[in-house]
Symmetry: D2
Subunit: 456 residues, 4 copies
């Protein structure tokens, strides 16, 4: 059978999303610099390219260079016209419903971010503005459920993991689903998809009424990590820092599976925040877990944390090997502490306002060669500050691996150069080296060429 690779289709939006004004339609079609067309096209393409094994944004963009998206106003609402769209988004010529939903959530978020949001925070300082922006985007996406007790588990981990690791993430998801937890991940394949699949089966067995599979993404990463259609709430945040903030304020507990630089970045982000003195009393279950055979990963990570942030930092997480049931029970116990604390402090269930996120973690980091070179990777700083610096270093490496501008910059200027105190640089070197050896950097690991260089 010859398979078609490109499909043309007309897609009508979901009821709640197709009341666009002509002005909004114009903005989505505006190909000028200030217009949304380019961003909208790219995100839609990512959404349509689900299930693809490509994690290189430029490859995706190149393969579907003839893809186009147009918006028409019809008497029953707007209509999207897809031209040369990836065939994988369709079944017998009809778009998969979950993907249809994703298309319109992207549209919803891009319009909201671009448009309505600017003035919501007058009178607030920078930190307040960032947090409130995250809050407003999530609320606009209806991602908060005020009367539901803490039950949202964030799962982090690599998009390029081994088969037995993937099966393990499904088993953990299954155990979480049996306990009616909802799942939130960063979209994409691997550790971001497995827990949702496992949970979906368990939720079916538990007849969970409105199971949530939340995907948080951002324009820079979405092309490399297409959301799986199981995701039934997709939210596109404007940048990686707001996406990370959305994870930790929306979620009630975090599980980290093996992964690469991106996962390590997430770990440092979360640990850095939890190490801030203001958060000392805030309970937040954080579990690192993997199957038998993947112990090496967490040993390396654990060693890296001890060396750079100190033993104290290890008190905020728990490592559990090859025990999905144990992971779920640990999370469940942690959730009960979260519940008790929220009640006691009159904090809302749906948004963790009280977690203090230092400015260093909120400011968008543009990983240019210059910025990477200037990172302060030295001892003697407060641990949470050092964590923020390390987080940025890893963020840059992710960009150099899979994000379009990062990859272009590397092609042009060569690898990023990182400098700092020897103890830290050695630890970082070991960590990254182990990711390369464990094939965690890219899906096509054979071709992996490091995008960074440790300068001692």
């Amino acid at each position: 059978m010859i398979k078609e690779h490109f499909i043309n289709a007309k897609v009508t939006p979901l009821a709640s999303l197709d009341t666009l004004s002509p002005h909004e339609v114009a903005k989505l079609q505006d190909i000028s610099k200030g217009g949304l067309y380019r961003l909208f096209r790219q995100c839609c393409l990512a959404v349509l390219n689900t299930g693809s094994e490509m994690d290189s944004t430029s490859q995706v963009l190149d393969k579907f260079r003839d893809f186009d998206i147009r918006i028409a106003h019809k008497h029953q609402g707007v209509q999207l016209e897809l031209i040369n769209a990836p065939a994988s988004a369709f079944v017998d010529g009809e778009i998969i419903q979950g993907i249809r939903e994703h298309l319109f959530t992207v549209l919803r978020d891009l319009l909201y971010i671009g448009d309505e949001l600017d003035q919501c925070c007058d009178g607030l300082d920078e930190t307040g503005r960032t947090t409130n922006t995250v809050f407003h985007i999530l609320r606009h996406a209806a991602a908060m459920r005020p009367h539901i007790k803490p039950n949202l588990v964030v799962c982090w981990g690599g998009h390029s993991i081994k088969r037995h690791e993937y099966e393990y993430t499904k088993k953990v998801g299954y155990e979480l689903g049996l306990r009616s937890f909802d799942i939130c991940t960063g979209c994409g394949p691997g550790a971001m998809k497995g827990p949702m699949k496992g949970a979906a089966i368990a939720h079916a067995k538990q007849r969970k009424a409105n199971p949530r599979y939340i995907g948080l993404t951002e324009p820079g990463i979405i092309a490399a990590e297409s959301p799986n259609p199981i995701v039934n709430e997709l939210v596109t945040l404007p940048d990686i820092e707001k996406r990370l903030e959305a994870f930790v304020r929306l979620g009630h507990g975090i599980i980290v599976f093996p992964g690469g630089a991106g996962t390590a970045e997430e770990i440092l982000y979360m640990l850095g925040i939890l190490l801030h003195p203001k958060n000392a009393d805030v309970p937040y279950p954080l579990v690192f877990t993997g199957p038998q055979g993947s112990e090496a990963y967490f040993e390396t990570v654990d060693r890296f944390i001890r060396t750079t942030l100190g033993d104290e930092a290890t008190k905020r997480y728990q490592i559990i090997v090859d025990d999905p049931h144990g992971v779920a029970v640990t999370i469940k116990e942690g959730m009960e502490q979260v519940l008790a604390y929220r009640k006691q402090t009159d904090e809302s269930f749906h948004f963790n306002w009280q977690l203090h996120i230092p400015e260093e973690f909120q400011q968008p980091f543009e990983p240019t060669h210059e910025a990477m070179a200037q990172l302060c990777l030295k001892e003697g700083q407060p641990d949470y500050i050092l964590a923020a610096q390390l987080r940025r270093a890893l963020s840059g490496i992710v960009a150099g691996n899979v994000k379009e501008p990062g990859v272009l910059a590397i092609e042009k200027h060569g690898p990023f150069e990182l400098t700092g105190d020897k103890v830290i640089m050695d630890a970082l070197d070991e960590l990254l080296e182990s990711f390369v050896n464990q094939h965690r950097m890219k899906i096509n690991h054979e071709e992996y060429v490091p995008c960074y260089r440790i300068v001692n």
Copy 2:
């Protein structure tokens, strides 16, 4: 039995509305000039004062001068605390659910108007901004239903009407409900409540799944026209002109029952728009109707229109006396034309973008003595312009009758003075005189003192 008049209560919001940020909570409690507290308190009081027979804002405010409202952040969301609230909003100490909903829709709209809206329309001209603002407020209130064929009937008419007129509005509502039409009014008693009650019974008989009883209000009128709890979608627009625009863009047909100056204002607004050349082809069913015994009202109105706007204007409406079934059938036929036209022109079902509303009808009119005196009530203008001027004159009279600032201004400076061409002024005089004689100006008509003076 001694009845309590004031009640203290704590009210938790509806799920979808209680995810406020601390920043928003602060704004609602801000008693400074820029803060929302005063407006929020006044609107909430109006909502709670449902069923009251008072249409004097100042009387309402005075009677409940000890009323207060506070907002607290709880772990499951925000909580309103009501102090010395009108007892009529409660049954056995518990707030009526419809009123609870209204409280939180007020909160929703005030925050949205105050906050998020400003930047939604960059790059648009004044007219575009106004229309888009109305659109955004309605969309934010989830008041648009894109896939539903035209079925929303706007009912206008007096809040102070006679018993048999009220019964007639119920009968018309019943016939509309049997045909599954949804109802939209301006809230308040009389002709704004009767059609909803009648429709509610008919909707029950027709098992209509999600019947809509939409109330459109604005802060200046809400205290005088408390929304009836049957209203299951309450939207507060920022001013009277945007409220009128919301009526005509959201609705698909209009029925006008007998009323006073406010009703005449609405008639002139609608007629003025329909007389604009750009709207010549836009179908819009418009029916004036009342029971036997109320013919005089529409005769006067009809004569007034002929005299001022000309016989041509009368082609855009139909007068039907004492025939609820006929009214419903006429509206139904009109709707079919609306449906056909929208399909043919690819206009959305849920918002009438194509109706041209001239700037003169959009600009907020502040009825000061000076502004009233300067109205150009002369012949020789385009009919729609004259209609706009007359609309403003009537708007000022409504303000002088029931709105707080208007009443205060009249108390201070005496009646508004209106001047213009004799033919027009005589017609206006006769119209207003007839309203006074028919006791349509105020609920307590015995005390009615005209707030205007025709200066020939």
Copy 3:
């Protein structure tokens, strides 16, 4: 406009009711003696004849003698074909949805009663069989809601009441609806419709999610008391005794409005049961109420009860005049006792198994002239036995007034003759006389000719 009186239409059934077997379809079309056609046609006609002012079964049957109903099997389920159906059931040629529902509930109940029910009660005695039959019919009709706290108020009263009495029943219904009570009546106009209309408005204000307006009828009465389409759960019981049992086992409290012989029958039924020693501790709120101007009715009834059943009997009910709020509050307090008692005795919320209904109230009573003449209306019997005898006397009078076989028997043999002890017969005479004088016997009271004769 010339109104059509008869309409032909095809009606597809509700999803859950159109999975009939060919065998069942054949039975509904079987015009032989054992077949269901005649009964089905008559009940459907009654359902379609809603809103009619005729309470004479034979007049209804005669007016619509050309009415026919046929059933066809289609690929998507069965289809009813209506020929010469009453036009009042249609709006613009389409059947009112509530009436459509009623048609198929009639079909559901007739098939179930005729067919599946016989063997459900093997091994039970007569009383057990009757009660279980009632239970099975109600369960099959999905009329029981196990997890809902006692909240079903049965409203009894006349179908032919005065305007101000009707308005009063609406007000009581409104107060009940504000407290979220569900309503159950015997279908038909007057006191059976008013409380539902009032409650419907209040339920809308309280946003009650699934308000219940239950109508319990039986084939002998349905033609005279067509169900109002507001009824959203219609159940047809096989005979009057099972219908009465369904009322008292399903309901949690009873309100009696003014009425005629049928209402008095219901009062005696309920009182007779409550007077049985086994029910001494079972709480069951029972309120007689009417507006100012209707005191006479309950005074007569009260006097009749005192004379025949003794003062003790009056402790089981409360008379409240002209106080809708007071009625609702009394019922609410009574419900709380019902709730407490059910919990304490582990009795289900949805069916009052523990209420003992003596055999005398369960046996179907065929009101022939002979049976009426043999009633034992004498002193010296246990009060509940006397109540049962009086109940039968009144039941016969209702049959002679409005039921087809009864009316025919009276035409043929003259009025029923009733004999008994003078005290009782005088009381009965006074009671019935007052009904005649108050025009409560028939809608067309001018023509009323008594169908009974007291023989002292």
Copy 4:
């Protein structure tokens, strides 16, 4: 961690199922011969024993010999008390919701079969009674959806299949789910679970609103094939013949995966019916499929069919190897023919009345040694009659393998003896031999001792 194996728990029923009468409760607790206790306990145990790897009824019954189930009447409905129940049905001490549902559907069906059903079919012949009984049970279980176009795919196949076969059934289920087909199987593990799991993931992606995973079982098989909790509609038919009839009348297409004797029985049942001349024109898609490596199975089956029933018989099915997409597309095309035929012949979508099922396939077959010995396995009979005889032979072998009375009979009297024409007996021998060699007879295939003997 020490795992508990037995759990005690109290389980409240689903709302719609807990309105039992005291009489029904008594029957479920009646341990006498006519009572339902023994059957109810056994079926509940099977439901609770989900996920177990035991397919021996007697092993299951022995392991949980201390299991007990009691019913109590509570004020909010009935309550089940489980004593020494399998721990696998619980998560952290709470019963899995799907299993809770299954418990009460078993209760529903046992009461209905035992009780209400007998009289539903008076006046029908034997065949009519059987079909109507199946229809009534399915309708009572709400298993028919009249307005939904044919979309129910029955999946048959072994409970004991190889890993790659199981993965293949998931893939086929996934392709079916992408096309929004619902799934119906016989419950239990293996080919009965895989398609549901695959479909569940695809249904999630397609946002299918009410996906159906129907399990049809019968008391004799349920203990050996515990329903998986994904099954969201479980129906227990009274015997194996009615269960088979339910499959073919409810389903719109059938997919057969590799399996053992039970699967072969199902194939012969279906083929026998399709070969009846009355069914010559009735479209019914029937696909045999398995992954690469399982071709041998269908080759054997195909050869067996050709030898015994002739080449003509092979026209009614299609064999597809290793192509999940092709299977789904074939079924989809077949469904369109079914749809067209149903419309054309006015046959209902929800129950295939027109399929003629000869008496030989309806009569319950009791596989005693005598009955097995008397089977007429000879040439020269009409093909559908021979198919019926062969079906019974295989049914007996299934009973001897896994059903309690069958296993006991074999233990006592030795293997069943089968005789017939050599051609047929050789073909049967080869077929069964291949099942043994392919380990398809039992989960614990090492221990398999044939329960039959071919006597030539």
